[in-house]
Symmetry: C2
DNA sequence: TTTTTAGTTCGACAATTGCAGAACTAAAAA
DNA sequence: TTTTTAGTTCTGCAATTGTCGAACTAAAAA
């Protein structure tokens, strides 16, 4: 029994730690923790009250967190006949899709700096413009590399 | 004169718009605007009061914003002899360096999910684990692609 | 038909974050 | 030596964001 409790605490810590990570990449704290919990839990689907209890949070927090994650698409739920509860889980393939989108965002900055550069075309400060060009060039190079990587990955796996 | 004023308004709008972008990638609103202003302004170096006036903000806000940006390294300043003011500007090469670091962060998530996967090694839910493996694999593939792109870019340009 | 359950919605509250204003500091100028 | 200037620091306020508790809803169960 003490063994179980100890394991539980380990899981809790892991969830907190991962939660912090997901916070950093833009989720609200509770959303991060819910997502983390669904990732590590066995089984990987959990009912509402279970999540609430594990995270020691209010129903409303959990409800909001889950709905955020479901809107993002990274969480969905399954049901079992004869059981009216929903079992929430990470939707790995949607998460993968989101990840792809995220990685592609690199190119946004490059476009923005490109614009700035166009506006600056008449500038006397050529060295500064050169610096910006460098950044645009780098970003575009990376973006292209990413596109290629995505393409080769999709070729290897079953696409999307 | 009306022409000038109109151009000024355009610049202001551009700065706001870019500021929002920099906000999204993690800066405080004012920091984002300061950075945006330094990017588009001609000349690309500006004194404290100039920035303050352009952004219609308080000295303390500007001071804090500039210091944040200087701590990040993406802004620094130059001076002119016989002039005690500092002229703040974007440090493009440091910004580039930061950008590189940022792009490399992709691999962090993959490591985290990799860990989760190890913890889940005894799980019955093979399909779920497969989904996670997919994500790790994708991330690693992309990370590798990025490393390669960085390497080839550095080979072409003067490294760093 | 009434009760229970699973989850949502709403209003208040707490924490965090960002900005402002004013007092302050250090160095240069007078 | 006194004053001015360029910028900082500190305190408080305002806005935003996250969470909670409690009342609510819709569907299932009794």
């Amino acid at each position: 029994m003490a063994v179980r409790a100890a394991k539980m605490d380990q899981v809790k810590q892991k969830v907190e730690q991962m939660g912090v990570f997901f916070e950093k990449i833009g989720h609200a704290p509770m959303s991060g923790r819910v997502f983390a919990y669904l990732l590590v839990s066995e089984p990987p689907y959990r009912e509402f009250y279970d999540i609430q209890e594990f995270l020691a949070a209010s129903k409303s927090s959990i409800s909001n967190a889950i709905n955020h994650l479901m809107n993002e698409g990274v969480v969905d739920y399954m049901t079992f006949s004869g059981d009216r509860k929903r079992y929430f889980r990470v939707n790995a393939s949607n998460w993968l899709k989101k990840t792809k989108e995220g990685v592609r965002q690199v190119s946004v900055l490059s476009e923005l700096v490109q614009e700035v550069l166009e506006d600056r075309s008449g500038s006397k400060h050529l060295d500064f413009n050169e610096g910006l060009k460098m950044i645009v060039d780098f970003q575009q190079h990376i973006a292209q590399g990413i596109e290629q990587s995505i393409a080769s990955w999709e070729a290897k796996h079953g696409k999307a």
